[in-house]
Subunit: 347 residues, 3 copies
């Protein structure tokens, strides 16, 4: 799929880049990356085990990234403690084609006092509101809509049809996949005589550096102040983040998670797919929430929770196992009752 490098890069250079070392011929020229199955001559592949599977041995790859040298393999090996990490870095740096910079398309509509950094790429039919500030090397794909007073940091990439509404702030190296919405109104109403009066949503959204949002994600603006997603957090497709939610650094939110208003999530929290968190909770640092959980109580730092009331993960696993035996348990209770009745009758 990827175009091949020509003439390619020496394995020694790759090793230097990631501070690994080469076992075998460091002069081999690598022209691409691939999976074990699809590798061709010239390709670099990574191996997650410390041994070489038969799949790896049969691969046509020209070099391996691996955590320990395998002696009986004649092809060169790049030794590094975390081969997948090295692979990701090297692919990003050497093998991915850099994004073509076409400047600003003719069909871009701009408000007044817009500031655009150097080497940006702004696609067709993009709308930029008044006083928008784009950093250096920002990429906006076709159909992106940016509201007034939005700030976007250096090297950020917004894929087609992403929307960032008025006053929201996006850091550097942020990636937002297609169709995501940042800064829609929070869902706030006050009841009056049986009708719901909209509470104006006066705040905005801050997305810090190195965050990635998946496709069709929604992040609501705060009622007052900010909804925040801190540095390095990664959010999968179709996640919903309500107003005044705060998400700490380096979290992972898997697809279709929903987080209700004013809930605060610590750093390095892992939230499995389709989990739902109710409002005004505090999820401690490094907590883990199992996929599909319904969390309606705060979770302490470091705890792992799961299940529809999201209690302790270990108990939950036991309960999940036992739920399947409920019919059997019921039968046992009935047998016990019968036995007792029987003995009482015969005594």
């Amino acid at each position: 799929m990827l175009p091949k490098l020509n003439p390619g890069v020496r394995l020694d250079e790759l090793a230097q880049c990631i501070q690994g070392h080469v076992h075998g011929d460091g002069d081999v020229l690598l022209t691409g990356v691939a999976s074990l199955e699809q590798a061709e001559a010239g390709d670099l592949v990574f191996v997650t085990d410390s041994s070489l599977s038969s799949l790896a041995r049969q691969s046509h790859a020209s070099a391996f990234i691996i955590s320990q040298a395998v002696e009986d393999e004649s092809r060169p090996q790049l030794i590094t403690p975390n081969p997948l990490y090295a692979f990701a870095l090297l692919t990003q740096r050497y093998f991915l084609p850099s994004i073509a910079r076409h400047g600003i398309a003719d069909t871009v509509v701009k408000g007044h006092d817009v500031r655009i950094g150097p080497d940006t790429s702004i696609g067709a039919f993009v709308t930029l509101g008044d006083r928008v500030q784009l950093g250096a090397r920002v990429t906006l794909y076709p159909g992106v809509v940016i509201g007034h007073d939005v700030v976007i940091g250096d090297d950020s990439i917004l894929y087609p049809n992403v929307i960032v509404l008025d006053g929201c702030q996006i850091g550097a190296r942020v990636i937002v996949q297609c169709g995501s919405v940042i800064g829609s109104d929070g869902f706030g109403y006050v009841e009056h005589q049986g009708r719901h009066q909209k509470i104006p949503q006066l705040g905005s959204v801050v997305i810090e550096d190195d965050v990635e949002l998946g496709a069709n994600v929604t992040v609501d603006r705060a009622t007052f102040g900010f909804t925040t997603i801190k540095r390095g957090t990664k959010v999968d497709n179709q996640v919903q983040i309500a107003h005044n939610v705060h998400i700490g650094e380096d979290c992972i939110l898997v697809a279709q998670v929903g987080i209700a208003g004013s809930t605060t999530v610590g750093h390095h929290v892992l939230i499995g797919g389709q989990a739902g968190l109710t409002d005004h909770l505090t999820i401690g640092d490094q907590a883990k929430i199992a996929a599909g959980s319904g969390v309606s109580r705060s979770v302490k730092a470091g705890k792992a929770v799961g299940g529809s009331m999201a209690f302790d993960y270990t108990s939950w696993l036991k309960v999940q196992a036992l739920i399947q035996r409920l019919p059997e348990m019921r039968k046992e209770i009935q047998e016990l009752k019968a036995k007792l009745a029987d003995r009482e009758a015969t005594q």
Copy 2:
């Protein structure tokens, strides 16, 4: 965040607008609204308790909206039974900048026989199909796509990239947040020799006055007739409403709810986040469905249900509590069995 009013509005005038009364100096000029924490001199804030918390007392606000006068506070207070409601109304009327009306952008593409009311604002790259009718003061943000024969009532606001397909009708004062889709085909197929033949979806969608839809919501058109959302209902982000669903007045549907085909929901129904309703159900007026529920049976008017089979809410709470004790229950049963066996052996 909001621009300040200049010179500001007198507290007496605000009180008159909401039929409240002023405790203290009614001549104070208010220039903005804020939260307690962020308030500056000139700001009006609301207090939900009838007492003033220390947070409120430390606030730099110039006036409070509160339900009962607090005597030992020297700053003026606007007394009204529902302070949040009053705050919402006053913010909307006095403090929110009115939407700038730029008329019709050069890049709008229109079909034939389009009728556009006065004081509308149509952003860049909007597409209007044939015979579209837009009421007065309608706002269409950039990238909105409107199909043929769509009618949109006065004062409605469609945020960027909202899509309303052929023949759908939108009432007055409707708000649709970014990326939502109204009138996509219902999910209907008939099996024939192991393949799924699409059933044409010939109906459309009616959204009544004062409805709000969140971001990335989907509302499918009916197979025949209409999918309807009645007056005043508020729908949060990423909700899915299938074909031929009917939703009554003044309901609240929290984020990521899914409602399957032909289900009818009464008025003033509350559906918690991520709840799912199967098809052809009837949910009675003022019913409440807990977040995360899976509802596969109809629910009577006024009932509160929850849980994965959505049974009675009170039973569900008990069950949820007991589920955590299943391992303990199992142990108890085994002890009982052992005791009985033991006694039988020794008798």
Copy 3:
């Protein structure tokens, strides 16, 4: 809603098209289709029962499609084993207005080496990347964004704001409803010193012939190779399909389903709404997964599963019934204990 045919089509001709036969007057001219309730003179309707309900008898329809002739009805009947299937086919062929072909709108932006088949219709503000290939009679609605090297087969329809990113392949007669995203990056990171490094997603997506995707669906590109959806599978709104997922032929995925990375789904699998499947599972052919299930284990061909751990469907139904009796079970156990204690005390 639909325009009427003028002069209409003879019932005999319709019968011939679907190889049915006519009971009664085959010369009647049909000018439209409708539901029983809404039918007017000239309309053809379908009846799913083999008898005519009072609703059907009161209908103003001019002819019925039905599986068995009803003798005491004077209006003509078109007899066919699967009336809904016949209705779907006839509606598609005779009564739906064909999509107007307007050619390529002035505002379309094209890359280089784009190939566009005959009789295509490309709406306003569509962007086509380099080397895009569109088959014959392809319809792209306004706001569609097509990346580089995308191939789209004959007669496919992409509704407004659909996005297909670089290198993805779409078959013939594929329908994609509004706002869906094909080819967003898979959610892959590798942890290094507490931070998440993005793993480049180098693969793409293949959507085969006759697939339909609902609105706001997301389908991620593979890390290597392809994410695939095979011929004839139908996917409802807001479904999330992760990287390297493979879905077989003729499946049905109801709204808001989420399928995690590398899971393989067989053919004719039915997945109910809001169900979630974890990663690296194998779901056998013709399996059925109940709505709302959380599936974390592979499922054998032909099996029906349900529940939060998605165990066997029959056990699950039993468990669901018993869960409601947990409070009662607990009481029984306590009574048993008391009885035993009592007897021990009195012996």
